[in-house]
Amino acid sequence: MTSAVDVIVIGGGIIGSAITYYLSQERVKVSLVERGDVASGTSSACDGNILAIDKMPGYDSQLTLKSQKLLDELVESVDYDLEYAQRGSVLVVEDEKQEPVARDWFTRQKEAGLPMRYLAGREVFEDEPLLARDVIGLVECASDASLNPMALVYGLVEASRSTGAMIRPFTEVTRILQDSTGAVCGVETTRGVMNANQVVLAAGVWTPALAVAVGVTVPIKPRKGHILVAEQSPRPARRKVQEFGYLLTKFGGAEGRRVEAEMDRHGIAMVFEPTEHGNFLIGSSREFVGFDRRCNHHVLELMARRALRFFPTIRDIHIIRSYAGLRPHTPDHLPIVSPVPAVPGLYIAAGHEGDGIGLAPITGKLVSEMIVGEPTSIATEPLKLDRFDK
C-alpha cells in the first residue's frame, strides 16, 4: 500500500483526532493512522474534563479557555452526541491549613478572568449538602464542563471522514521515514509504506519510542491513573468535585495534606465526576510505574477510602468497573505542540497528562495553523520541544 497525502497523523486518540479534524476543515489531505481501534488507548481510560480551575493561572489557564471556546463550536458542528454538560466544578477545602492557599488560588484565577466563587461555612452545605461535615470551603469555577471523551473522538473522526480524511485504524506505524536530506517523507506501517512530507506524532505516552528512532528525544513519561465507576445511583454531588489536595498531587507539595503515607505514595486525591448516564466516576491516582495498564487493587482500595472521607453517604453504592490509563507526563506539566527543527516536516503534539480532553481542541487548531502557515491562536513558545534543552 503506497498512498500520498499532505499530512499523516500518528495516533487515533483525542489529540490525533482533533488535529485530523482541524486539518480536514482546512481541506488539507490528511490520513489518521492508529495501531488499534480509534479511542482505545489513554483516551478510553480517562475522565472527560474540560477544566480551567486546576490550571496554573496565566498561560496554562488561557490555553484552556481558548480550548473551551473551540469546544463550544465543536458541540454545535460535530454531528455526534458528545454528552457535553457545563455544570461548573468545585475544589473542596479540607482544613484551616489549606484555606489560605485555596483563597490565594481563588483570587489569582478570578484575576485571570475565570468565573470564580469562594463559599465558606454554611454556604458549603447549602451548595453541596452531602459533603463531609468537617470540610470548610469550596472554590467554584462556573464555566468548567465535562463530556464523554470517546464520543468526542468518534465525533471528530466521523466529521473528518466526511470532509475527505482517510482513517486507518488497526495500522501500526513502525518507523518514520526520512529522505536523504533528513526531511520527513512518510511512514512505514504494518500495512505498507505511506508517503507524506508532513507527519504529526500524536501518540501520547508512546510518542518517545517513535521519535527516538529519528534521533529526537521527547521527555514524556507514562503516569498511571486509576478510575472507579459507580453504578447508576443518586448522586452525592451535582457537579464535578475535587479535593483541593488534588492540585497539590498534580503540581507537587502534597505533604501539606493530613493523609497517611500510602495515599501520597500512590498520588491519591479524590476526584468526583457525574456522567450523563447517571453513573459517577471516582479518581484519582498518579504514579510512575511504567507501561502496565492493569488495575492495582491496593490503589483502588485507597481511592475508595479517600472518596468516603469526602462523601460518607456513598458507602453502600456499588462500584461496577475500574480501569487505569497512562497519562503522558512532561517535566513542566505543559504539552508539547511543536515542529521538530532537526527533522523538517515532523511535528509533535503530545504530553498533555490529565488535560488531553480539555486541551484537544486548541491543540488540533494550533497544529493545523502551524501546518497551513497561519498565525497561531495563542503564542506557542511555551509549548516548544526545545524548551527542555535550556
Binding site: 470517546m150 468518534y154 485504524p169 483502588l300 475508595a304 477510602r305 456499588h318 468497573r321 475500574s322 480501569y323
Partner: protein, 90 residues
C-alpha cells in the same frame, strides 16, 4: 434479529445501534461497548456479551475465534465503596 430488539438491558442498547457501531468501525466487543455502552451497566455484559459477539460474527462475516475477547475489568462482582475501602485497613 430486528433492529429494535434490546440487546443490553442495563443500558437499553438495541441491535440497530450495535450494527451502526460496527459500520462505524467497531471490530470487537470492546469497540461496540465504547461506542454504544452495551456491557457498561450493572451486569457488566454478563447478559449481552454473547449476543453482541453473535452480531459481530454476522455483520463482519468473521469466525468467532478471530474476534478479540472483551477486556476484563475489576471488580468481578459489584462491590460497595464501604467494603472496598475497609479492606485496606487489613
Amino acid at each position: 434479529m430486528d433492529d429494535d430488539t434490546i440487546v443490553c438491558r442495563c443500558e437499553e442498547v438495541t441491535v440497530g445501534e450495535i450494527r451502526k457501531a460496527i459500520r462505524q468501525g467497531a471490530l470487537d466487543v470492546t469497540g461496540v461497548k465504547r461506542r454504544t455502552r452495551a456491557g457498561m451497566g450493572l451486569c457488566q455484559g454478563r447478559t449481552c456479551e454473547k449476543i453482541v459477539t453473535q452480531i459481530l460474527v454476522q455483520e463482519l462475516r468473521k469466525p468467532i475465534d478471530k474476534l478479540e475477547p472483551a477486556t476484563a475489568r475489576p471488580p468481578v462482582q459489584p462491590v460497595t465503596f464501604g467494603l472496598l475501602a475497609e479492606k485496606s485497613y487489613d
